[in-house]
Amino acid sequence: MAHALRDKAAISGIGETAYTRGTAKSGLALQLEASLKAIEDAGLSPRDIDGVVPYFPGGGIAEDFIANLGLPDLTLSLFVPMGGATCVAAIQSAAMAVATGVCKNVLISVGRTGYSGARVSTRLQQFPQFALAAEFEAPIGMFAPAQLYAQGARRHMELYGTTPRHMAEVAVTTRRHAILNGNVVMNKPLTVEEHHASRMISDPFRLFDCSLESDGGAAIIVSAADRARDLRKPLVTVMGVAEGHPESPASIAQRPDLLDFGLVKAAQRGYAMAGVGPKDIDVAEVYDCFTFTVIRQLEILGFCKEGEGGPFVMEGRIGLGGALPINTHGGLLSQGHVVGLNHVIELTRQLRREAGKAQVEDAEVGLVTGYGDMGDGSLAILRRAA
């Protein structure tokens, strides 16, 4: 029997600001600017929005959306505090809301001044999810995700022979895609040599293995699929969506297997709900806080075997024209860091065939992941409706 939520929700609107390093705007202003664009893109008006899932902590809350956009009757206000897994996991919450009739149109949004405002290690102090890291790891010199996730990457290298060359391939391919997009922070080509020469941040992560600290906003609208059919843009439905929480969710250090991401559980559920497998995926937007995180997620997603993510990304396989084009917009590594909502936007564009020079030919079914906090995971499988 088909899953109760399968194809019941649609991504009906998408919006994003310019991605920059440097802005005079507040995070809230960026979030609202992107929200207005998403509402316009869907052919809706703010009065049609009756649910909000703002990224939290940081940015606007329901009160801000009512006060700024004049939402007349909000029926649902939710937070999904899963760090980088938030935006894709929020699609599951929004899908439940529109499928049950609690909401008609749910706005998921992010506004971030990651460059001009508080930087990563300062910003994370306000996350309850980082409380254990703050007590036990910050005092010994570990707190930023680049440090906390580096130990998992090192373990993968030691166990499976994954190399900096593999990680560089993710960075270089993603940059090539970013240049095709236009609205990106990093618009100059990157070579493998430049990757290897970039400064070490937390071994094995060099500068170009790390996602950007940038300013920008992004938003999407999730609507009931039967209603979205009448909206402006080609219908893109949510075939499958799931979130997953790993064992020892607030401490990577204490997790029996450091490489056991929440995506292990989410992928299983997401594929089952969608009724498709890795072979059916035409394009994948994979959460790329770090190059290694992409490599490991490709294994978890079943595109290759355990430990073979490194060799898998080579030989053009993940580039446009390859067997599995990934991060066709430039991702968090080269486009901008809006906690992966840009990945959902790009996948929607691909399936609408609005992706311009980065368009994957005949893209019918695509996948987008989130990865956040100490390894929370989320997955959505979207399709272009017939």
Partner: protein
């Protein structure tokens, strides 16, 4: 919302012990690795928390654990995300499988990067950083 960059404090970030974790921190100050054990099923858990996830007992006791363990993985921190660590960078942080059955993350001193491998035997030592707080650190045999 502020658009002004906030510089991280140059002081070492210090632990703020909770009612659950206080015995662990007291132990380090006294030169012991005190780990929480379930008073009902006996299983060890770290970091300290109120309920045993195996048997749901809320009774626990802290016992001194051996200071030996083996390297599980590591990183070498070059970029000081907190300015306090600028003078120390680059520094190795070792994640160690303690023989007591939990992991401890702490700086590893007295060894070079190229000598690191999974399974390397390491010893926990104690570094007082204030009157109240002592932090763990590792040394190689």
């Amino acid at each position: 919302m502020s658009t002004v960059a906030i510089a991280p404090a140059p002081e070492r970030p210090m632990p703020v012990p909770t009612r659950d974790s206080q015995p662990y921190w007291d132990g380090l100050r006294e030169g012991k690795l005190m780990l929480q054990h379930c008073a009902s099923c006996g299983k060890v858990r770290h970091y300290p928390r109120p309920v045993c996830p195996h048997c749901l007992s809320m009774e626990s006791e802290f016992k001194a654990a051996p200071l030996t363990g083996k390297l599980h993985t590591w990183t070498v921190c070059h970029h000081p995300f907190n300015f306090f660590f600028k003078a120390e960078a680059p520094y190795i942080v070792a994640l160690v499988d303690m023989d007591a059955g939990v992991r401890i993350n702490a700086p590893l001193r007295g060894i070079t990067e190229d000598a690191l491998k999974i399974g390397l035997p390491l010893w926990l030592q104690f570094e007082p950083v204030s009157k109240e707080v002592t932090l763990p650190l590792f040394v190689a045999g």
